[in-house]
Symmetry: C2
Subunit: 124 residues, 2 copies
DNA sequence: TAATAAACGCAACATTGTTGCATCTGATTA
DNA sequence: TAATCAGATGCAACAATGTTGCGTTTATTA
């Protein structure tokens, strides 16, 4: 994978925020980036395990960098995210453990996606 | 809210399945229903608290009827759903309790959306 | 049965995401 | 440093999903 300007910029933005950002949010955070290129960049990063995709409470697709705080280097989706009702930002709560659940017979879990919604630290 | 054929059909389908269905799945389950009418019907039902919206692991919007099994009559989103990787169906696990989480200081929760993914009872 | 407010269905549009293809560019090698 | 070429980019075109406006139809109710 080549180190191109678009890729470096996306990595820089995602690695310096604790938020999960949508493609359109990323697009508007730097000018003159082709929408299609951005989608492809995010897809490549995701497949390379550098970022992960989360769908927020409203169905918006968002991407988050998994930084060193992340307790799980294998980037499973057992992360807890917090979606603020007011500012609509999506926070990656890396320190919050995903709880274990008791599933009905016959169901096998390979990952749990938890999205807490409410009011964030900065809006309350 | 009037009792129209479309509404009765949607209610019938949603109330007799344990799955959360997408608008397009509903559309194809009965013929000659206008797509727009279906969207409006689902929106009305959701606002009336009769069904609730869940976004699945792939970002697909789905709707589920909350039947009598549902432990919470107020229809908060503290439901646990199970998204099968194989058949892509979304099961409403009404009997599984949403676990409580320890949030960082300043964050207040008003609901938790949990989507477990894995292999369902019928695919394993 | 007549009146009417609500629901329906069509056209048109907006957003999000994907694919094909020609062009450009960053890393490698000579 | 210059040539090379796989890989990255950007444009056009398309597909899926969801919304709005508006004229017509229909379920209630009187």
């Amino acid at each position: 994978m080549k180190a191109t300007p678009v890729r470096l910029k996306v990595l820089e933005v995602l690695s310096t925020t604790h938020l999960a950002l949508s493609p359109s949010e990323l697009e508007s955070s730097f000018s003159k980036v082709d929408r299609i290129t951005l989608y492809r960049t995010l897809k490549d990063f995701e497949e390379a395990g550098m970022i992960h995709k989360i769908i927020d409470t409203d169905g918006v697709t968002r991407f988050a960098f998994c930084n060193n705080n992340c307790p799980d280097a294998t980037h499973t989706e057992d992360h807890v995210h917090f979606n603020c009702k007011k500012c609509h930002k999506m926070f990656c709560l890396a320190h919050v453990q995903t709880p274990s659940l008791q599933l009905p017979d016959g169901f096998t879990s390979t990952g749990i996606n938890t999205v807490v919604h409410g009011i964030c630290k900065y809006c309350s």
